[in-house]
């Protein structure tokens, strides 16, 4: 492990009155939230509720039009977070080289890069594919590679946007295992899904979002057993919300 132990934590992440508007539509509305270190948070909600937008705001890919998003440790916060997208974008080079590129961007020395690549490929079961061109992998393998690439960066926080949306059950299973392993290694997980089963399997804490508003934020047990918000109740019953 190369992350210096004395690195201060960038968490908690604090959102204050965050709104995001595009084309005159408010897509995220007045979100105030605090992410403490340690847990696995899963955001659920119907399609178009603003889940992906929310992650992109937290990750810094978008700027809020109102309110503030602050890490406790602002300097270097970029270096300590990573994101896995619904559709992984792989560079046209080998599996190992894709991870190598991400590490190079973080200015990690060539010698350390080799060790890290070996380790994450091993941990994600991709070792035998190391020299394959990344683009010829199956979507499931590509998503595992995206996780390996993110893991290699040893982020304090990992954002995942519907990471298993188009995968088959076997691939979903191994992706969930990798997410758990990354969490066990000390990374804060913040992810979205529209798969309630997955949310039950993974979440320590659930955020329910509908039409850009966070309607409920609760520990997983309480949310799944006794949701307070009536729309959340309807969503859990499998009703369509609009």
């Amino acid at each position: 492990m190369t992350a210096p132990l004395d690195d201060t934590s960038i968490l908690p992440l604090e959102l204050t009155d965050v709104s995001f508007a595009a084309g005159g539509n408010r897509l995220i509305k007045d979100v105030t939230l605090r992410f403490e270190p340690g847990l696995k948070t899963v955001m659920i909600g119907p399609n178009g509720a603003g889940k992906s937008l929310f992650l992109r705001l937290c990750h810094g890919l978008l700027q809020p039009t109102q309110g503030s998003i602050r890490w406790q440790q602002e300097t270097g916060a970029d270096r300590h977070q990573a994101m896995v997208f619904q559709r992984p974008v792989m560079l046209r080079r080998s599996v190992a080289a894709n991870i190598d590129y991400a590490l190079k961007l973080r200015q990690i020395s060539r010698r350390d890069r080799g060790d890290i690549i070996d380790r994450v490929l091993h941990q994600t079961g991709l070792r035998r594919l190391a020299d394959q061109p990344a683009r010829v992998l199956s979507i499931g393998e590509q998503q595992k590679l995206a996780l390996a690439r993110a893991w290699a960066l040893e982020p304090q926080v990992l954002f995942l946007d519907e990471p298993t949306a188009s995968l088959d059950p076997a691939a979903i299973h191994s992706v969930e295992e990798i997410i758990a392993a990354i969490h066990d290694a000390g990374t804060r997980i913040i992810m979205t899904t529209h798969d309630l089963g997955q949310a039950r399997r993974i979440a320590d804490e659930v955020l329910f979002i509908n039409r850009g508003r966070i309607l409920e934020a609760a520990p997983a047990d309480r949310f799944f057993n006794a949701p307070e918000n009536d729309l959340a109740q309807a969503f859990l019953r499998g009703e369509l919300l609009w």
Partner: protein
């Protein structure tokens, strides 16, 4: 139709006879055009990528200018280079007029806009797909340029080939700045123009066929490389 069979016979005769002046002319054509395309790629690829990725004042002007320059008549480029390199012009002291270097300069001016404009298009499209991932990894537009050029390499080869096509086919610019001097600046296209002006239509057409075959071979080689590696990299 006899012109065509005569031309064919002339082409075969030139090739089989391994005419030394023919090899000299072909060699110079390739040297001038390949050098010009290599330099143009060296300039055009990064410039095209920069126009694609950066928002700066005057960007619109650059986009329109590169696109418009793609259609610049070679004769005009030749004339401009002539005026620049002429002893009476600003770069006259170097004595470059009527040398292969002058021809390379003219062709670089002809080819760079093509490569830059096509690169801009390719990189813009690629950036739409890559932007979020790259920014998440910590690579803004500037740092992403080499990776984008590398990932767009299969399409960019086509851009470079388009540039080579223009360079190897044009006659207007090299005629003016090279002067079509025998053994010094005579290339395929200027020889063809010369033979036409002598009324040697069959020989001119024969040279044209050889030029076509050369250009086809280079394109075929590029296609095969592209095809074989592309399958490998999806």
């Amino acid at each position: 139709m006899t012109d065509f069979s005569d031309a064919f016979a002339a082409a075969i005769g030139l090739v089989l006879g391994l005419d030394t002046s023919l090899t000299e002319i072909v060699g110079l054509s390739l040297r001038v055009s390949l050098t010009a395309v290599a330099i143009a790629a060296f300039i055009g690829l990064p410039v095209g990528a920069a126009i694609a990725l950066f928002r700066f004042p005057g960007r619109f002007f650059f986009v329109v200018a590169t696109n418009a320059l793609m259609g610049m008549p070679p004769v005009v480029v030749g004339l401009i280079v002539y005026l620049l390199l002429s002893r009476a012009g600003p770069f006259g002291v170097f004595g470059l007029l009527f040398t292969p270097t002058a021809m390379i300069v003219a062709q670089v001016l002809l080819v760079t806009p093509i490569i830059a404009a096509l690169t801009r298009q390719v990189i813009e499209d690629l950036w739409i797909e890559y932007e979020e991932q790259m920014r998440s990894l910590g690579a803004g537009p500037g740092r992403a340029v080499p990776a984008l050029l590398w990932d767009g390499r299969f399409t960019l080869i086509t851009a470079i080939l388009a540039g080579f096509g223009r360079a190897s086919a044009e006659v207007g610019a090299v005629m003016i700045v090279g002067g079509n001097i025998d053994h010094v600046t005579r290339v395929m296209t200027t020889s063809i123009a010369l033979e036409v002006s002598k009324g040697n239509l069959a020989l001119a057409l024969g040279l044209g066929m050889i030029l076509l075959v050369l250009s086809a071979s280079i394109n075929a080689a590029a296609y095969l490389i592209q095809h074989n590696t592309k399958r490998w990299h999806a």
